[in-house]
C-alpha cells in the first residue's frame, strides 16, 4: 500500500493542491507517512544570498515556504516529516524517490518559475518520466 508518500513542495499553488491530494491518500492508508520534500534550487541561491540581509533571514524565508504545508498536515492529523535538499529540483526529487523506494510521489503540475519552464520543461514532467514509483501529478 501507499505507506511512504513523497510530496514535492515548492510553495506554488499547484504544490499546495498536491498537498491536499496527498492528505486524501494518506488518510485512506493506515500507518502511512507523508514526506514533504523541498529542494532549494542551485540556480536560485546566488540571488537568495544577495537579497537576504543575513543567514538568519535566509533560513527564515526558507522555513516560511514550508509552513502552509505543515499546517495542512497538522490540521488533518496526518503523520508527516520534512526533508530539505540543495540541488536541481527535478533531478534531486527523482534521485531521492528512487533511492528511498517511495510508494507514491505526488507533485504539482507546474512550479513557481513558469518562465523557466517554457524553456527547460517542467519539473513534474521530468519527475514523471524518471521516477520508478507511481506518480500523481496534480493540476
Amino acid at each position: 500500500m501507499y505507506k511512504h508518500i513523497l510530496l514535492a513542495a515548492d510553495g506554488s499553488e499547484n504544490s499546495l493542491r498536491a498537498a491536499d491530494e496527498a492528505i486524501k491518500v494518506a488518510s485512506l492508508v493506515e500507518d502511512s507517512q507523508i514526506e514533504i520534500i523541498y529542494i532549494i534550487d542551485f540556480d536560485d541561491i546566488k540571488a537568495d544570498v544577495l537579497h537576504s540581509g543575513s543567514k538568519v533571514e535566509l533560513d527564515h524565508t526558507r522555513r516560511k515556504h514550508l509552513i502552509p504545508f505543515e499546517e495542512k498536515m497538522k490540521a488533518h492529523g496526518v503523520n508527516y516529516k520534512t526533508t530539505v535538499f540543495n540541488g536541481y529540483p527535478g533531478q534531486k526529487i527523482v534521485e531521492y524517490a528512487n533511492d528511498q523506494n517511495v510508494d507514491m510521489l505526488i507533485i504539482g503540475s507546474r512550479g513557481l518559475n513558469t518562465f523557466q519552464e517554457m524553456f527547460v520543461g517542467s519539473v513534474s514532467h521530468k519527475v514523471f518520466k524518471r521516477a520508478n514509483s507511481p506518480v500523481l501529478i496534480v493540476k
Binding site: F42, I45, K46, A47, V49, L50, H51, L58, N86, F119
Partner: protein, 489 residues
Amino acid sequence: MNYNLKVDVIVVSKIKTEWFSNVRGDILSGILVALALIPEAIAFSIIAGVDPMVGLYASFTIAVIIAFAGGRPGMISAATGAMALLMAPLVREHGLDYLLAATILTGVIQVIFGIFKVAKVMKFIPRAVMIGFVNALAILIFMAQVPHFIGISNMTYIFVAITLAIIYILPRFFKAIPAPLIAIIVLTAIALYTNFDLRTVGDLGTITRSFPEFFIPNVPFNLETLAIIFPFSIALAIVGLLETLLTASIVDEMTDTESDKNRESRGQGIANFITGFFGGMAGCAMIGQSVINVKSGGRGRLSTLVAGVFLIFLIIGLGDLVVRIPMPVLVGIMIMVSIGTFDWGSFKYLVKAPRTDAIVMLVTVVVVVATSDLSKGVIAGVILSAIFFVSKISKIKVVKSQVNEQTIYEVEGQLFFASVEDFLAGFDQSVSNENIVIDFSSAHIWDDSAVGAVDTVMIKLQENKNHVKIIGLNKSSKKLVDQLAVYDI
C-alpha cells in the same frame, strides 16, 4: 599529551575531509573549471590592459595557493573582472611593473585585514549595496566588451551572435563539455580555415608557453611608488574581499556547510602577495566559476588545486592555439559572464524594496559606472545607507497630554545628536508655574548631545518656575544623565 593527540587526530581528519573526501568529483569539476577559466582569464587580462599571460599566471598561482591557504574549500579564486576593471587605469598610466607591485601590496593589506578580522565588517554592508555591486560589475564587464565588437567588421557581429547562440542553446542538449569551450574550439577552427576579417587574442598580446617565474617587479622602491600604488591596492583589497566573502556565502549556502571567513581573507592576501612576484595580476574569488564548480560536483580543496594545475598545463600545451582564438568569441563569452553576473531580481527589488534601499542600490550602480571604480560605488552606497539609517532612527516623538493639572510629555524614540532638535521643538518652553512630567519610558538616551538637550529643556522650564519631574529613564540612559547632566533635580 592525551589532549595533543586528540587535536592531531582532529586536524588529520579535517585535512582528509577537506582534501580527499570527494576525489573523483573534485578532479572532474576542477578540470571543467580550468576549461571555463581560460577564456575568462584572457578576457580579464585584456580588460586590465595586460598580456593574456598576466591573467593566466594569476589564475594558476591564485587557484593553487588558495587551495591550501583559503578558508572555503571548493571555492574558485583566480583573475577576476572586478579586479581587472580597477587596475586598468594603473596599467594605462604606469605599466605592468606597477600593477605587480600593487598586487603584492594588495596581498599585504588583505593579510592585515584577515588578521584584524575585517570579514566581520561585511555584515555592515547592506544588501542594497551588494546588489548594486554585482549589477555595476555586470554593466562594466559588458561595457568593456563594446570596443571589441562595435564597428570592427560585420563578421565580428556574426561571430559574437554565433558564440551566444552556442552558449545558450547547446547546453539544453549536451552538457558534458562547457558550451563556451565548444564555441571556442568550433569558431577558432572555422576562423583558422577561412579568411574572415576578425581580430584574435594574438593581436592584443602574446602567450608564453612556460611556467611563471619568480621576479621582483621593476619599480623604484620609494615613497613616490607607494603613493602611486597604494590607492589602487586599497581599492583592490576591499573589492577583492567583498566579492570573495559574497562568493563564500553563496558556496556555504550551496553546499550547506560553514567556512572560515578570516582564514579566507588571509588566504586571499597570501595568494595575491605571491602572485605579484610571479608576474600575475591581483585576483579574488569568482562567483560564476565557484557556482560551476559546486554544480559539477566539486566540494573539496582538491577541486581548486586541479583547476589551477590543469589550467597551466593546458596553456603550456596549447598556447599556440590560444592566440588564434577570435576576439568576438571571447566577447560573446564575456557577454554571457555579464548576463550571469547581473542580478535579474533587481527590477522587482526596485519596485518592492523600501525606497531608501532602492535609492542606495541605484546610487551604488551609478557611482561605479560613472567612475569605473567598484570601490567608490561601494563606499558611496555604504555612506548613503548609513545616512538613511540615521535619519530613519532619528525620528523622535514628543506627545503632550494634560492629566489632573499635570502636563505630561511622553518621549518616544532614540535621543541622540541627530534627533535633539526635533526633541527640543516638542516642548512648549514658554509656560510657567506648572507641574510637568517628562516620561522617557519609550525613549533611549545615547550621547552627550542627548543629555545636553534634556538639560536645556529642564533648565528652561525650571527658570520659569515650573515644577519638572523626569520619569521612566532606562538603566543606561539614567547612568548617562547622572554622569553628564547639570540641571538640578
